[in-house]
């Protein structure tokens, strides 16, 4: 049975790595059709927050609510798409093979047409018929974006997605984020690229040493 939600809430979220406190009671709300940019210096807990939201790691304390229900793992992960600096693609598989593998893991019904549609949308050219090992950084990130969006996720988590990309690829990424926001996705972006954040973000959440400094400040000129 599919599960959907229009809001993600964290309550008193704490994450400890040994004696290191990565998150120290983070309360935040992320809504559908909204792009939230998480800001903060290195080590402020931005990526840790994304790892918990993506169900990759368990919080030490507190909870994450997806909609009105407290859900963990399983089918919920089908509703989450993640794009990070690393493309999470197998270097010895072609683009189609990579997308087909992840599509089957996500049990997508119309997989072939979905892959064709995403390839067209993100201008994934003939290079994707070669193993991923031979692609440029920009080419890798386009296919990685297609992989992240294969399952039409409700929650899209982006961790430094624009690092090392050329202008054309950043524009394509920006358009994709706008499209996902228009579709009603909850988009959470971690980036140090101020211009990129201002171009796509609706509001910001500032973290410092694992704590929220300021929440949901609208980015000027956008919201």
């Amino acid at each position: 049975m599919s599960f959907d939600f229009e809001r993600v809430e964290t309550r008193e979220l704490v994450k400890m790595y040994g004696v290191t406190r990565a998150l120290a009671g983070v309360d935040a709300t992320f809504s559908a059709g909204n792009v939230t940019v998480i800001e903060g210096p290195n080590g402020s807990g931005k990526s840790t927050l994304l790892h918990i939201l993506s169900q990759e790691v368990r919080p030490t304390g507190g909870e994450v609510r997806y909609g009105d229900r407290r859900v963990r793992r399983g089918r919920l992960r089908a509703q989450i798409g993640v794009l990070a600096h690393q493309p999470m693609l197998y270097p010895d598989l072609t683009g189609k093979e990579n997308l087909a593998l992840f599509g089957e893991l996500y049990e997508i019904d119309d997989l072939d047409s979905r892959i064709d549609g995403l390839r067209q949308r993100f201008q994934v050219g003939r290079y994707a018929d070669r193993p991923a090992r031979t692609w440029s950084r920009g080419q890798l990130q386009r296919v990685a974006l297609a992989r992240a969006l294969l399952g039409r996720p409700r929650l899209l988590l982006l961790d430094e997605p624009s690092t090392g990309l050329d202008t054309q690829s950043v524009d394509l990424l920006s358009r994709a984020i706008m499209d996902e926001r228009a579709r009603g996705a909850i988009v959470i972006l971690v980036t140090h690229d101020r211009a990129f954040a201002e171009a796509v973000g609706d509001n910001t959440l500032q973290l410092h040493r694992g704590e929220v400094l300021s929440e949901a400040q609208a980015i000027e000129g956008v919201s």
Partner: protein, 220 residues
């Protein structure tokens, strides 16, 4: 879902042939060096061969697991698997299945090679020997797959794998060596069965343990 992951591994291996060639070559080297160093006479060869077989299998197994998980580290591909909605134990099973297929393929080449260099006739023992090798490899790979997965994000991954895996699998490995020795010595089926029961117990423990522990251990 485990099959999807296993097939992905086999497709990558078919394309690169990296594990089969590097690991197989290493196994051949172990066998040739052992035969040159230890071979004294036909009488003694049946006592030496079990050790040579299992030393070759153990090292080839660790090498192939290490390489298989190194592929998961490239581009952080394993994170893609962990983020997908499949039950995480399926990842363990898939990696174990592909590891078994590759190790059995290597063993199918190495064991006859040991027989050739140590002048052994495998015809009367091949059935029981295959069973021991299958069961010994299954438990060994189950434990190895779990610890390879755990070490995938550790800097001392190769060291950790070797240091942790050998003491852990020692009882299973020793049982397999003794069972193989009994087979070559012409022991009755009942005596071999006792060791097969021990191997079966290790297989169940390692496979069930890996299946059950994979999710909680990979969630941190």
């Amino acid at each position: 879902m485990a099959w999807l992951i296993a097939l992905k591994d086999l497709r990558v291996e078919w394309r690169t042939r990296e594990i089969i060639f590097t690991t197989g070559l290493f196994g051949v080297l172990v066998i040739i060096i052992s035969s040159l160093s230890f071979y004294l006479s036909r009488d003694l060869s049946s006592r030496l061969a079990p050790g040579v077989i299992w030393v070759a299998i153990a090292f080839c197994g660790v090498l192939s697991m290490s390489r298989s998980w190194a592929r998961e580290r490239e581009n952080d591909a394993v994170r893609g698997l962990l983020l997908s909605p499949i039950p995480r134990p399926s990842i363990f099973l898939g990696k174990w299945l592909s590891g078994m297929f590759l190790l059995l393929a290597i063993e199918a080449f190495l064991v006859p090679l040991v027989a050739f260099f140590f002048h052994l006739d495998l015809t009367p023992v091949w059935g029981r020997l295959s069973l021991v090798i299958l069961m010994g490899s299954a438990g060994f790979l189950a434990a190895g797959t779990l610890f390879s997965a755990l070490s995938v994000r550790s800097r001392a991954r190769d060291l950790m794998l070797s240091v942790v895996i050998f003491p852990l699998i020692a009882p299973a490995l020793l049982s397999a060596v003794v069972a193989t020795r009994e087979i070559f010595a012409g022991a009755p089926l009942e005596e071999t069965l006792e060791w097969l029961r021990v191997l079966a117990a290790f297989d169940i423990i390692f496979l069930a343990g890996g299946y059950l522990l994979f999710e909680p251990l990979m969630s941190e």
